[in-house]
């Protein structure tokens, strides 16, 4: 899948300004773009790579539970209790019926013009497109040569 659902066309956006902001972001240096720096990050500390690796599940807890990183492990285990709770949150039971009631009664139709729709390039489509382009280019070349003669 290749896009972010064109947030400026109303399909995904809730204010229609998303794409304009992203364009201006793309003009900025990559580092700023990927990690916007806010005033609240001024006091940010640097975590040891081993702690990140443990939090990513790449290394076992025992590896980081000693030395300077032991305190970090304790901190994240504490935070993870709350993170685990959030992981178990469920949608309120009434919401499903509420959404179904709010859906239009009409059958979904194609609304977005074809040139603004999401498209997926899979290997078959890529090969078919490549072959078609070669055939068209060959035909055009042959036609030009024929006319030139």
């Amino acid at each position: 899948m290749v896009d972010d659902l064109r947030s400026e066309d109303g399909l995904s956006g809730f204010d229609g300004q998303h794409r304009r902001v992203r364009r201006s972001e793309q003009e900025r240096p990559l580092a700023d773009r990927e990690v916007p720096l806010g005033h609240q990050e001024q006091g940010t500390r640097v975590l040891a790579p081993a702690v990140h690796a443990w939090l990513d599940g790449d290394i076992p807890e025992a590896t980081v539970r000693r030395g300077d990183t032991a305190k970090d492990v304790e901190f994240w285990k504490h935070v993870n209790v709350e993170v685990e709770r959030r992981r178990r949150l469920r949608t309120p039971t009434y919401l499903e019926a509420q959404i179904m009631e709010a859906l239009p009664q009409t059958v979904p139709q194609v609304i977005t013009p074809w040139w603004r729709r999401e498209f997926v390039v899979n290997p078959m489509v890529a090969v078919a497109t490549g072959v078609a382009l070669v055939v068209v280019a060959s035909a055009v070349t042959v036609a030009i040569i024929a006319v030139a003669r």
Partner: protein
């Protein structure tokens, strides 16, 4: 996953041929992770419900245009909805109550401690830029792999790792004095 993708496509075909009720299967299948994402991004159950409802309505209206995985497509609608909401709303304090969530803590003191951590984490998350908050929520709350996140957000694994790392470091700086 492939089976689920196939059944999603079958359900979409049924909806497109006039079986509106079939859409309920897709809502049931995907609403929980989408709700968690919206709730953790916005910090408000009411807003999360609104975003989820609007997103599923948009998904229904544009269902004929789905190409590829429905779950990834609808996730991006919700994620963009959250980011748009965050851009429009600047709130200094975010918190939510969950009266419908049964308490599982042993003692009132433990319950109090957890409630405090909950609101402190909400406050800390609300100070992060949307891109860092999104990366942290997807990695830690939703338990997604970096590859899956990259696929959904259309960015690179390296960029997402950096966002998650920065988010962790910012959160720890904000919370560690109290919770270390």
């Amino acid at each position: 996953m492939v089976d689920q993708e196939n059944t999603d496509q079958l359900i979409i075909q049924r909806v497109l041929t006039g079986n509106r009720d079939a859409f309920k299967v897709l809502i049931t299948r995907y609403s929980d992770p989408l709700y968690r994402h919206a709730l953790c991004m916005t910090g408000s159950p009411d807003v999360a419900e609104d975003i989820l409802q609007l997103s599923f309505i948009k998904a229904y209206q544009h269902l004929a245009e789905v190409r590829g995985r429905f779950d990834a497509w609808v996730f991006r609608i919700v994620a963009n909805g959250c980011k748009d909401w965050l851009k429009n709303i600047r709130r200094s304090h975010l918190s939510y109550d969950e009266d419908d969530q049964p308490s599982s803590y042993a003692t009132p003191e433990e319950e109090l401690d957890r409630t405090e951590l909950r609101s402190d984490l909400d406050r800390a998350l609300s100070t992060l830029p949307a891109s860092l908050r999104e990366a942290f929520v997807m990695k830690h709350v939703e338990g997604r792999s970096y590859e899956e996140m990259a696929d959904l957000l259309g960015t690179t694994v390296g960029a997402l790792k950096m966002r998650v790392h920065r988010a962790r470091e910012a959160l720890q700086a904000l919370l560690e004095e109290k919770y270390s």
